[in-house]
Symmetry: C2
Subunit: 410 residues, 2 copies
Amino acid sequence: MSALQINHQRLWSRLMQMAKIGATVNGGCNRQALTTLDKEGRDLLIGWATELGCSHRFDEIGNLFIRKEGTQPELPPVITGSHLDTQPTGGKFDGIYGVLGGFEVIESIIEQNLEHKHSIEVVAWTNEEGSRFDCAMMGSAVWTDFMPLQQAYDLKAFDDGARVEDELIRLGHKGEHAAKAFPVKASYELHIEQGPVLEKEGLTIGVVTGVQHMSRHHLNIFGQECHAGPTPMAMRKDPVQALSLLLPKLYAAADKFGEDSRVTFGMLDAQPGSPNTVPGKLSISMDLRHPDEASYNGLVADAYAHIKAACEELGVDYTLEETWKAPGVTFAKDCVDAVQAAVNDLGYSNRQMVSGAGHDSVHVSKVCDTSMIFIPCRDGLSHNEDEYASPEHVGQGGDVLLNAMLRSAQ
Amino acid sequence: MSALQINHQRLWSRLMQMAKIGATVNGGCNRQALTTLDKEGRDLLIGWATELGCSHRFDEIGNLFIRKEGTQPELPPVITGSHLDTQPTGGKFDGIYGVLGGFEVIESIIEQNLEHKHSIEVVAWTNEEGSRFDCAMMGSAVWTDFMPLQQAYDLKAFDDGARVEDELIRLGHKGEHAAKAFPVKASYELHIEQGPVLEKEGLTIGVVTGVQHMSRHHLNIFGQECHAGPTPMAMRKDPVQALSLLLPKLYAAADKFGEDSRVTFGMLDAQPGSPNTVPGKLSISMDLRHPDEASYNGLVADAYAHIKAACEELGVDYTLEETWKAPGVTFAKDCVDAVQAAVNDLGYSNRQMVSGAGHDSVHVSKVCDTSMIFIPCRDGLSHNEDEYASPEHVGQGGDVLLNAMLRSAQ
């Protein structure tokens, strides 16, 4: 199969057009889910689709599907997509690239008169970011039956308390179609990496084989408040001293399970927080991730054992609980192979990798064969107004998506 | 010299009477500096002094002196004292014990017809706690010329904004006598330890040889915010990882300089404090103390070197500055020896120790020979409504003060 290409310049231009809706002064985007701006963004896409002669539909949770019929429309479609909503200080690419990249695939297929048996559908999932309504990947969660429709309807906005269902009605995005997975031949999602690996290694494409196992834990270490002066070190119950024992062991555990381990302490807070008082309580968040299930389980077990040992050694009490967990995903071999073959045909430099972040594809992968395609983003930045991917990489990622989808759609 | 004793029961009873003024529901005291309650407490003491036939006087900053003439009144007096003001949720002993213990010494001397050449004076320093007016040890600071009188006068209360001078006038405590040190033969201060050492070691008396060198430092470690998932550990600038390198070294430095070292991290805060983001900034307070000057300097130098090394190793920027410093004090050998001899005469179990906290005696020691006497307090608690010392220890501390003062007053 010879390698096809999309129209790089058109895709870039559409990304920049979409970025004007909700543009921030710092060059980013604020187009949060189910706002009037979110509707404007979707309307822009629907307008382009209508010009091309493609049909579109909304389902009950507002997921927007744009369809290009195949030669055998009764066959399950090959789908692709991501989301058009952004973080409050988000960028121009996260999510949007996946939707507009998918739409560019349809446009290139039409323009180049490429044949495919299976229909092609591009989807914009509702509320992936979870910044206005506290549920990331909401639209795909409902569609895959991971979350009940009514529960999603009843979520309330942080900003004005509006209900999801009421906002869907207000914007005209509450469709008649069931928010429920239909048979799908294969699903792809094109996305910026949101990490620094491809850029650092000078590679163009990440062939995504799955998503890390990940979980969040909350650790409280309880000490005994005492004055910084009179109390000898040996008579203290100092939670920071417990921290000094366990931190090196937890970073060493990350080393032990190889370069794919992730150990992150994002929150760290001492109470009462007085400079001349040994803290009575230390509150710490611990985020643990690994793509390999056995290594992930080993990392979690080691972390728990080290925390227990350190607190026992110093005679301080602690509580440790898992507050959130997302089991890892291994993408379907067929889809990963299709992406890899597409990249190989195009001759783009690449590596296989796992995603460190969650995506709509995590949900979608539960109901059909799925894979993802990553391109580099500058400094690994995302969820940030400085988020940036080069026009060249943006176009090359679209080429890969086109070729992978056509492989599945034959 | 045979060992004399004070009246244990009377001292305890007076402490309990004083504690009724400003008593809190939780068994503590709220008798903050220059309040009407503070005046009530001082009036109670003045009443007892007047009954005994002792004169009293206020100086310009409200320090209250009670005098028992010696046989040679022209000689410089031996003084003792502490403060009657408390923290908002303070106890019955911190400061009060030093004043009433001193007064009990006068009363015992009179009752037992003990002769002494040098006069004995008991002083209640104004505003030692610094909780209503933001200047701890204010009265003794002015008296020793550490702080200008006008600066103290202009301090404003946290609660109602009242000026120190106006409050002194309102309460009738602005005296005519200069707030300025006069010649003193020797000075003693009786105090609860405010730490756990005597209690833990089962000892009755701490012979205080000085006050620790102490300083406070603020450390900011700057990392690079990034998502907890996609960014490999080796590509992170993680300030918590710098913390994991330096904490064990700083605690080891405390060990290196012996059991008198104190290293305390009271404030610890990660920004932005999101569980799935590597912090961009870690903010830490570091309190360093040691009684020995060379060891103190070594501890500070080591801490700075370890912080520099850890941050350089991980390639993270940092700022480190000293925010407060109180040079240590070595009390006069004559006074320390007098206390030690008194304890030996009485046969009370004891040890020499340094004070971990500041006291009026730190100022007083700059202008005359000074020492302190500590007794155990339960669980090392102070600045706390649960602050407690046993009647037995309270009495025994008073015995030591009586004998030490008489040694100096001969």
